[in-house]
Point group: D2
Chain length 316, copies 4
């Protein structure tokens, strides 16, 4: 089943699990995929920035994407196909869709500056991957340094046949969601799924502004699932209560650079992946940081028992 503008809920951004020596850990891919399904995710996004995609060569990227897709079951899989050139983007997009992906995700290259450069890029990208492949527009200025106004996003979507979703991670971004939903109310923008990123740091209010859910990699996707559900059902205070209980840890995990190391460490503590290793160049966290995370987990666990990790880890 391919991705549509009606998509909603939680799409987990998956890290790529490696063995300590840097080889791809396929067993952990399977376990991670199962985990996302079990906690109630609707989809999983692989080979994103967080997924260390640029550190894989072309053959490895295919292997990883196919492994997630094969295991995914009911989960929709979105494959990040951002690449320095369209040939590589097309090759991976085709392979992924043939293997059963629900759609692909495209981020703009950092060199784009003007509105026209940005809209032209996405027109060419859609042409490159070929007709009929649903794709997700990634809007992530903090990391990509490409700034898209709501109007530019509207132009991209309205120019396109197949852009069905926005991965929203502008920062700040609440007004952007309101602006895009306003465009839809005035009839100038067609239906578009908006899932929000930024580690979930503003998920509480993003839902209230009109987001359809989250696409982010916080190591407790189960919390994201609950907050999205509570918020959509109108249980505002409960949504915030649960969100706020996690916020100290979520904030810690959302740090640029070291965030992935924290996330892999927590997923490892939760028993989901075997190793927290990253490929070079990658950040690591030392004993002090691990103790800080453990302290935060214990504090979260006072409200959310899922953070009470039964698996104690060895000292460094």
């Amino acid at each position: 089943m391919t991705l549509s503008a009606a998509a909603n809920g939680v799409f987990a951004i998956a890290p790529t699990p490696f063995h300590d020596d840097g080889r791809i850990d396929e067993a952990s891919i399977d376990r991670l995929t199962d985990f996302y399904g079990e906690v109630g995710c609707d989809g999983v996004t692989v080979l994103g920035i967080l997924g260390e995609a640029p550190k894989l060569d072309a053959a490895e990227a295919e292997i990883v994407a196919k492994r997630f897709i094969k295991r995914a079951g009911q989960l929709q899989v979105i494959v990040g196909v951002s690449a320095p050139g369209f040939a590589a983007m097309r090759a991976l997009a085709r392979t992924a869709m043939e293997a059963g992906a629900a759609g692909v995700m495209i981020a703009p290259p950092p060199s784009l500056r003007t509105d026209d450069q940005i809209t032209t890029y996405f027109r060419q990208a859609e042409e490159a991957i070929g007709e009929g492949i649903p794709w997700v527009l990634q809007d992530y200025p903090l990391t990509l340094s490409v700034v898209m106004t709501p109007s530019v996003i509207r132009r991209i979507v309205m120019d396109s046949q197949a852009c069905v979703m926005l991965k929203h991670e502008d920062w700040p971004g609440l007004e952007k969601i309101s602006a895009l939903r306003g465009f839809q109310r005035d009839g100038s923008l067609r239906p578009l799924s908006i899932l929000t990123g930024n580690g979930g740091l503003f998920l509480d209010f993003e839902m209230e502004r009109g987001a359809d859910g989250a696409m982010t990699g916080y190591a407790f996707p189960d919390m994201l699932v609950d907050v999205v559900r509570l918020s959509r059902s109108g249980a505002r205070d409960q949504a915030h209560d649960l969100f706020d209980a996690h916020l100290p840890l979520l904030r810690y995990e959302q740090q640029p650079g070291v965030g992935l190391a924290v996330r892999k460490y927590v997923l490892q503590q939760r028993g989901v992946i075997a190793s927290a290793a990253q490929r070079k160049p990658g950040a690591t966290i030392g004993a002090t940081a691990k103790a800080e995370v453990d302290y935060l987990l214990a504090r979260v666990a006072r409200v959310d028992r899922r953070a009470a990790l039964s698996r104690p880890h060895a000292a460094e």
Copy 2:
């Protein structure tokens, strides 16, 4: 009394209060200064980035600095003197010190890239302002795009006669504090006060890593004062409890771009400044955002009564 490497506690980063029409609001400067003293701050930093310093002309900058200094009483006043050139930097630094400032703060210009460019710049800056003026090194890569390793900071400090404080706001930055304190333990770095910024987003752990306090503009400096005190007294859990209660609001206020609008709105709600106006170009917050802030304030108030604002504001 001039600033020294023994400085600690909370130095509030002061916004510059304007009337709705953009004129400087001197009565609000006085009230704001008094407020910082009443809530227990040790100092106040004026004409920083947050203080809209670049929007003032040279004469206005002097007026603002002198007004804060005159009112400050026991508070130490640090004046931001960052400028595109050394002549303007020197002029403001001299004026500020003559008026009674405790020290000045210098941020690097965004064009600096290599280690040598950075260390040379600060050597020239110190020479420009003249001997004997204690100064604060601002390390804020997210906004300034200048990246200083711990070793470069050490070179700057050890080259300098008068650099007594680091305004730490690298992000992530916990390991940087640990690295600098490690340099001091191994004897390669002389005493240096480290106050942390970034809106206070990591103050809880920054204190535990060895920070001497906070220099940031969160609209509840009273909370910052308490967390710094609790943390220094070893009351770890209480420090985190109070910090966590404020974190949802603090995070909201720390958004780039709109953060200052939120902060001025809260300070206005607290009755400290008369208007939330910024000079152009500036962000504003609309009714939805104000309602979000009010909701967050009400939630904070369940734990910290200081957030229960008695002064209801009119609807927009």
Copy 3:
């Protein structure tokens, strides 16, 4: 006489002459101004990027601008008023116009990215300096990192009451001139003077594409005057012959960073300014570079006797 969209010819970008100890050299300002008039310039632009404007404090900037204006005679003087904030921009613009400037020049701050950010900035800048002051739009992406499409330039000009000139220094930029002139042919852009910069590196073809002249600081403005005149009179080959004879030196002088040091050195050799000193931070050229420049001057002098400098300089 104020600047209009009919302006053409050569506007020299003036360096700011300093004494060796960094003080402003007013006698050299006078001599430099006279020189520009004698060689046939139509105007002079002061306090630009090349003019080390950011290294002057506010009072000094006024002194420099007024000195040039007072001496200018028939030359139209454009004053660079770019500043981090509108208050400083307004103050200098008012002072300059009252002293007799023909207009002011405004460059965008490097933080601008989207088309809307750019057009909004110039609308606010025009509002800030006040009605009726003719201004020059500076388009210099290489240094300022702000990219304006021809359409954005059109929006800025058509939104404005008083933007009468484009300082064109996009690189590459030939197609941009053609595009803007095309807009005028199709009636969508009102009259606009286009003077080109970039050290004159493409002046030969820029004239053929429709530029009205040059606004740049090459140390032989006499050559620029001749090339503009030859090109406008249809003497294409002669224009290129003269231009090409200077190109090796012009290229050498157009190097970022050290270019100003070369330029001041040549102007000093020509007897126009007393010292080649720059304020810190500034580049210097050593003995090898000076010898390279001398060699290039000697080669130019085979075709253009004005480059045969009679004033030998002492060895370092």
Copy 4:
């Protein structure tokens, strides 16, 4: 024969020839390779930035590299292996060396800022490609936005077993060559071949500062070969005379963005490649620009008959 620190002369940066429809044009690769050999080049560098390497997928990159290598005869082939991650870099480096490449070239990723980040990156890159592969360090701040001081280059080279050449294209860069040669004179830097890029814009003086030759893509490598030879034999004036005759065209070809379109157009006019097509996203040159290039060619031909192109092209 693998690359060594004794390498000198001219290494042409090869464009990748495409058919009009974007397919790789292998016949033109062969003709281009032959051409470089016939005009006296010592080597050829393929899959560089100019070679549109990021627009090829991994399989295509291998095909292109192997085709050049197979045809190269006496020419040493350097393969650009810069990649967003080490896995892709390693894969291409291994393939290239097995196919007979003389070495590989590595550019830093744009995200690197501090001296330590830069030196660490190249240490990891060398480790990734594996021992014993000679590599070229590319120093190209204008495009890559990574600034390396001479000291950092020295650290990289002295840390490395296998870095044998610097592709020097800092701008300005003359003093950098002098600084590096000074390091060698004082014994702190081991032997290192320095070939200069930047389209050859400063080749005349770069040779005099101590460069070993050129590595650049100017469409008249025959001129580069002559200038390098003349300069090394001490025929200074002749070297400059020939260089200066080409400079107007060389400057035109060195424009960022459109330069490659000009270069491919000239190579097509010279009968070396069949089509000037680039893959998207790519610049094109229109009728006016082509006529400008033709005019420049005719002017060069007055001094250098090789620019008198016998093959007239059809009007657009």
